[in-house]
């Protein structure tokens, strides 16, 4: 069990990540929510329950705030998110999930759950749990926002 013929760990992480993302996109398209792009999804995914500031979304998605602003503009036009004033800071506004986003998110969540179920079927429940645990530990040293 040496696994020395495997590609580098980066690619190894990327392959299932991309697979999962593609399954979510497929599910959204099928359900009529295809008017969202991967770049936009990577923003939406990081919006917290009570809304999140643009700058924080930018930091977490690792894009500039200008880019995040552009993506939120698109999402807002399409009804996925809305901007509301931040009561604690007049400069800031909170980006929140709006109507269309609330409808679509369960579909995305279901798609993720289905993929995770498929992975459990292939790897076994124990190994998936261990994988998630290990990735969670890795997050401690790779996620500045953990």
């Amino acid at each position: 069990m040496v696994d020395d013929d495997l590609p580098n760990t980066g690619l190894l992480l990327y392959i299932p990540y991309r697979w999962l993302e593609n399954r979510v996109i497929d599910a959204l398209i099928t359900a009529g929510y295809g008017d969202i792009t991967t770049a936009q999804m990577r923003i939406v995914q990081r919006i917290g329950l009570h809304g999140t500031r643009l700058t924080e979304l930018a930091d977490q998605a690792q894009v500039t705030k200008q880019t995040a602003g552009y993506l939120v503009d698109q999402l807002e036009k399409a009804g996925w998110v809305e901007r509301v004033v931040d009561p604690t800071d007049k400069r800031a506004r909170l980006v929140r999930i709006a109507a269309r986003g609330k409808q679509a998110l369960p579909i995305a969540a279901t798609a993720v759950a289905e993929v995770e179920a498929a992975w459990e079927a292939h790897l076994g429940k124990r190994h998936v749990a261990q994988l998630r645990h290990t990735l969670g530990r890795l997050r401690e040293i790779t996620d500045p926002y953990a």
Copy 2:
């Protein structure tokens, strides 16, 4: 050890992937090889020892062949790769690593090794091996080109 507070598995995979990619970019910039973009790296990474066809690069990187062609154009102009005729098929050409690429690749490889060492220091050798093994098994059902 339930890990129920962890984000979805997609984000969990993406975070360390992106971290690793950033460390590679940092190393390349430091060594004076900053004239490559992430999109270009995702192509270069998939070029085999004897060269790889454009269409295959496109498939594996999950972009259209036009996009792959555009990226290879940039890489070729910068001396990272070259195109040589495929002796077995006059329509095709093989994309191969050229001089600049050959110089830079060891730097990228070193950066990857350093990150993997840091991960081993944090998780333990055993858990990293297990992580790679599990990701390798996952690849069986998520990589059409495995």
